[in-house]
């Protein structure tokens, strides 16, 4: 059995670990609140954007390359992961899903390319020799639109210049603080626009200069805003995942401290019992 002092030092170190995981849990909790606020602030913009885009697309005569499906020779995967770990399965879930999709869909490395947002995804794809077209790391915990603007517009440009023929987004969708799920979303071409909502709207717009010109400006912005929306969603998931992971780490530390304390007390008791029996037997030996 380990000595009393060994057990005591294990208890102390576990307590220190617990303090750290507890602090990280609380930090993530407050970051999650902020991330949710950011996501909320973004909603009016995205809703309005969608409304206008749908109306223009539904008005019929205007066309734009971003609305048209073409034969897919090359697929772009935009993968959003975190820069840091300690977030449970957050990064691995996304990466595994992307990897499986790639293995499943493609036989040749020319058929796809990866745009990696976040250090974990980038490192994984680099290590496995998958083609990375663009990467961005070091995104802040509370990203502004300007932080993602460049890579978003580059991704959209790749589609417009026919480097890629479709763009698929992979990220963790935020369901609630305890549940996030990996989501894949086909971003480009924008196919699901003209369907439901556009028809019911009463007012038809006058376009200045004309619908086609407006689509040219509007659609890239719309696609960029969708990417930003996904990023906000992913960030909220990241903080939630980290919070959950740190909470269970704290729980585990508590459990371990309890176990160790029990062992410590048993060992202490055994030592005392042994000492008493030694004294008693010593005294008995003298009397006789």
């Amino acid at each position: 059995m380990a000595s009393l002092r060994d057990i005591q030092s294990k208890i102390n170190s576990t307590k220190k670990t617990k303090q750290i995981t507890k602090a990280m849990q609380m930090v993530s909790a407050s970051k999650l609140t902020r991330a949710e606020q950011n996501a909320k602030a973004f909603v009016p913009y995205s809703e309005k954007m969608q409304e206008v885009v749908v109306q223009i697309a539904a008005s019929g005569d205007a066309t734009h390359p971003m609305l048209q499906t073409r034969a897919v020779k090359k697929t772009g995967y935009l993968v959003i992961t975190a820069d840091r770990g300690l977030a449970g399965g957050y990064n691995n879930n996304v990466i595994r899903e992307v990897y499986r999709t790639i293995q499943h869909q493609h036989t040749d490395a020319d058929e796809y390319t990866v745009i990696a947002a976040g250090r974990f995804g980038r490192d994984f794809f680099k290590k496995n020799n998958l083609p990375i077209a663009k990467e961005i790391i070091g995104l802040p915990d509370q990203p502004d639109f300007s932080d993602i603007k460049q890579i978003a517009s580059e991704a959209v440009e790749m589609f417009l210049e026919e480097e890629i023929d479709e763009l698929v987004l992979f990220y963790n969708h935020f369901n609630s603080a305890i549940s996030q799920e990996v989501t894949s979303q086909k971003l480009l071409p924008l196919t699901d626009l003209s369907s439901e909502k556009g028809r019911s709207v009463q007012s038809m717009y006058e376009f200045e200069p004309d619908a086609e010109e407006i689509l040219k400006v509007l659609l890239p912005q719309y696609a960029e805003s969708l990417i930003y929306g996904a990023l906000l969603d992913a960030k909220a998931s990241e903080h939630a995942a980290r919070m959950t992971a740190m909470r269970s780490a704290t729980d585990n530390a508590n459990e371990r401290i309890d176990d160790l304390t029990l062992t410590y007390n048993r060992a202490r008791q055994a030592a005392i019992t042994q000492e008493i029996s030694e004294i008693v037997s010593g005294a008995a030996a003298q009397q006789s």
């Binding site: 950011n38 602030a41 973004f42 009016p44 913009y45 995205s46 309005k48 954007m49 206008v52 223009i56 502004d144 639109f145 300007s146 603007k149 007012s203 038809m204 717009y205 006058e206 376009f207 200045e208 200069p209 010109e213 407006i214 400006v217 509007l218 912005q221 960029e224 805003s225 930003y228």
Partner: protein, 134 residues
């Protein structure tokens, strides 16, 4: 006098939502002045200032990468970034302007050139709008 509800929305949240008598802005095709009761209209905006008038007072907002959506009772401006004149960080805009000017002088690749020009444009616009802050 009748007014039109005007809101300016960016991905980072709403910037402004108030009633105004007249909204003037610079679209790709030229100046637009919107009064209440305007027919529905959509137009992309230049990197420019939006001027909002109410009771003899004029509010200035800088916008970049945006467009304008008009309905008879409502004007919405969706922009990738927008700031009220009083919220503009003049020092930062000044620095951005100098950075962009320096990059333009360096004459590197073409793409950088275009980016630098756009950045310069935005910085100048911000400074211009900030000079109207009350």
């Amino acid at each position: 006098m009748s007014t039109v509800t005007t809101s300016i929305v960016t991905p980072d949240g709403p910037v402004l939502e108030e009633d105004y008598e007249m909204v003037s802005c610079t679209a790709e095709n030229g100046e637009l002045g919107i009064l209440p009761g305007h027919i529905p209209l959509v137009a992309p905006l230049k990197v420019s200032s939006v001027r909002l008038q109410i009771q003899g007072r004029t509010d200035y907002v800088s916008v970049s990468g945006g467009f304008l959506e008009v309905r008879p009772d409502r004007v919405t401006i969706l922009a990738q970034s927008a700031e009220r004149a009083s919220d503009i960080d003049v020092d930062r805009a000044e620095q951005a302007k100098q950075r962009a000017e320096k990059r333009l002088q360096d004459k590197q690749a073409n793409l950088d050139q275009i980016r630098a020009e756009q950045a310069l444009n935005r910085a100048i616009n911000r400074l211009d709008v900030a000079s109207h802050a009350r």
